[in-house]
Amino acid sequence: MTTDYKYGFTTEIETESIPKGLSEETVRLISERKEEPPFLLEFRLKAFEKWKSMTLPTWANLSFPPIDYQDICYYSAPKKKQQLSSLKDVDPELLKTFERLGIPVDEQKKLTNVAIDVVFDSVSLGTTFQKELEKAGVVLCSMGEAVKRYPEMLEKYLGSVVPIGDNYYTALNSAVFSDGSFVYVPKGVRCPIELSTYFRINDRETGQFERTLIIAEEGSYVSYLEGCTAPAFDKNQLHAAVVELIALDFAEIKYSTVQNWYAGDPKTGKGGIYNFVTKRGRCQGFRSKICWTQVEAGAAITWKYPSCILQGDESTGEFYSVALTSGHMQADTGTKMIHLGKKTKSTIVSKGISADESHNSYRGLVKVALKAHAARSYTQCDSMLVGNSCSANTFPYIEVANPSAQVEHEASTSKMNEEMLFYLQSRGLSREDAINCVVSGFCKDVFQKLPLEFAAEAQKLLALKLENSVG
């Protein structure tokens, strides 16, 4: 894709910022600006204290220069973006990418902040969805709004799955988080729309320190998708998000991610986004279920382990992941499945594709606690190498304290080679279709778990990313 992102970065975004640097004063200032209740200020200050005492984790298979945390601006309220009058003003390379990903024209306009014509009235569509959600009693709002409308809920659940001091980045996020999403699904409600559909038509600013909290009450169901296949740029290099999910008795949460952050210059890796994310769900209730699906195709550095705490008896945790690295990207990603309840079940399917000079590691923990009788876990972990200069690693950790557990782990490594592509091409498929075919076959088990409208796009995205890496 493009090497020079002049269009991506020069779009002036006016912001109302506070001075750079991180101190107790900064934390107080953020809380004050956001007009937060005292408990939240306490939360932030505690996190900041904790963060000061912590050091950067170094166990991951990643290398990058140290980050100067005093050189970051921790609060900027985005003002209205400068609007472009037509797609002609947008980087043609970017448009080409959109086209090939099959992103509809109206959506392309949204993504590039081009004024949208009356035919596609996203505002009214968005309102329709919002009404539908309201009717069902589902709450979907920004974290900032949730602070004002549901403070008791936040006080109860914020930091309850991912403790503020869980790791270096969660402490940082807890101290300075900007905004994010809050979802609440009441008892017995099956969320009437895929929340992905909602976000598809609503602009949603992704912050540097995002915070997401989803609560699914007894017997409820919700499917949430974050991200987009379109290449995403951001002026902030460091991103450290925290996502917490809570599923009560018989509740099910499906959380899908498609991540395509700018990965930096493909030759030097310069300028790419650092993505340090902590995502964790608690299957708190009996027979509750949490399913993580992710397609990680961007960012210079990905550090991410969406996990499940299987606390409720007979609860289920699932993790389906495709991680693609190309250029100089580095990814250290996987999951943790912590079996606490009886007859808990986890399934892990990880597909890693590494190309060019990139490094791709799977890191996963399956832990069966003493009281987790008859727990079952299955891991399948496949790597595909493209070219000879990349690397793929698998770090599975298995800790079993209960002898009745049944834990399986399968792993494989294969190579996407010229012979496969030549074979498919010699049957009439174009080179692009041939790559697509091999990649989608490899990732099939994961793509099947994605919301339908994203599966085809995600597939194309991967093929697009690999196009220049094969051969």
């Binding site: 080679n417 496969m420 030549f422 010699s426 049957r427 076959g441």
Partner: protein, 244 residues
């Protein structure tokens, strides 16, 4: 049909085909035999357009066009089919999906678009005709197939795509006698008056079933002798050393 005119091809700086010429008319069956390393498989790959080989001089005329610069998929669409010696395994892609994609790509422009549902009965019929087990459809492309099954799958593709020219690269390798007979009969059933076949093989045995019109002996990148069926018999008795 196919006219190879003084073709020179190389890989990584090493010349494999040297001024290679061959002419195949519609309906003819030709066989190229030769010792290991003569360049037989290279010939097959170069004809199909393998990107690792470069052609420095000469031409490949197929269906009235010089295809030397064409991508493999363009050649396939013109009606050239290579049956692979070692068909690669492609995990996660069902045979049925693959066959549909191949059919749509090669036959679509001629026969008009065909939906997946519309393709289904055609596939069923062809599979029955080729005596291929029904389970082939839902298995992943060549994944876990035995040597014989892989070759059968190649023939199934040939039957569906109805190529003008089929190149059989060592289709007999790794097969026992019964499997080889099966495959030979499969190929025979697909022969028509306007379709040509180029057989590449080490051994004479396959040729007793397929009865080629011409047999060429290939040594060191070019054809050193051309004859009819009895040449194969001769080679079987004498070996290739008299030519090298």
């Amino acid at each position: 049909m196919l006219f190879i005119d003084k073709l020179t091809a190389e890989i990584e700086g090493k010349t494999i085909l040297k001024d290679f010429s061959l002419n195949i008319l519609p309906g003819e069956v030709h066989a190229v035999m030769g010792p290991n390393g003569a360049g037989k498989s290279t010939l097959a790959k170069v004809l199909a357009g393998h990107p690792s080989y470069t052609t420095s001089s000469g031409a490949i005329w197929f269906q009235g066009q010089n295809i030397v610069e064409m991508d493999p998929e363009e050649r396939a669409k013109l009606g050239l089919f290579l049956s692979f010696q070692y068909p690669p395994e492609i995990p996660g892609v069902t045979n049925a999906d693959f066959l549909y994609a191949a059919y749509a790509a090669c036959k679509g422009p001629l026969k008009g678009p065909l939906s997946k549902e519309g393709f289904e009965p055609l596939l069923e019929r062809t599979m029955q005709r080729m005596r291929v087990k029904p389970e082939f459809k839902m298995r992943n492309l060549n994944e876990g197939f035995s040597g014989g099954e892989k070759k059968k799958n190649e023939l199934l593709q040939m039957a569906l795509l109805e190529p003008k020219l089929t190149i059989l690269d060592e289709i007999d390798s790794g097969l026992d006698i019964d499997a080889m007979k099966d495959v030979a009969n499969g190929v025979k059933a697909l022969l028509t008056e306007d379709r040509s076949v180029l057989i590449i093989t080490h051994y004479q045995r396959l040729l007793t079933y397929l009865e080629p019109d011409y047999i060429h002996v290939m040594v060191d990148g070019c054809i050193v002798k051309t004859g009819t069926a009895n040449l194969a018999q001769e080679l079987e008795e004498q070996g290739y050393h008299v030519y090298s």
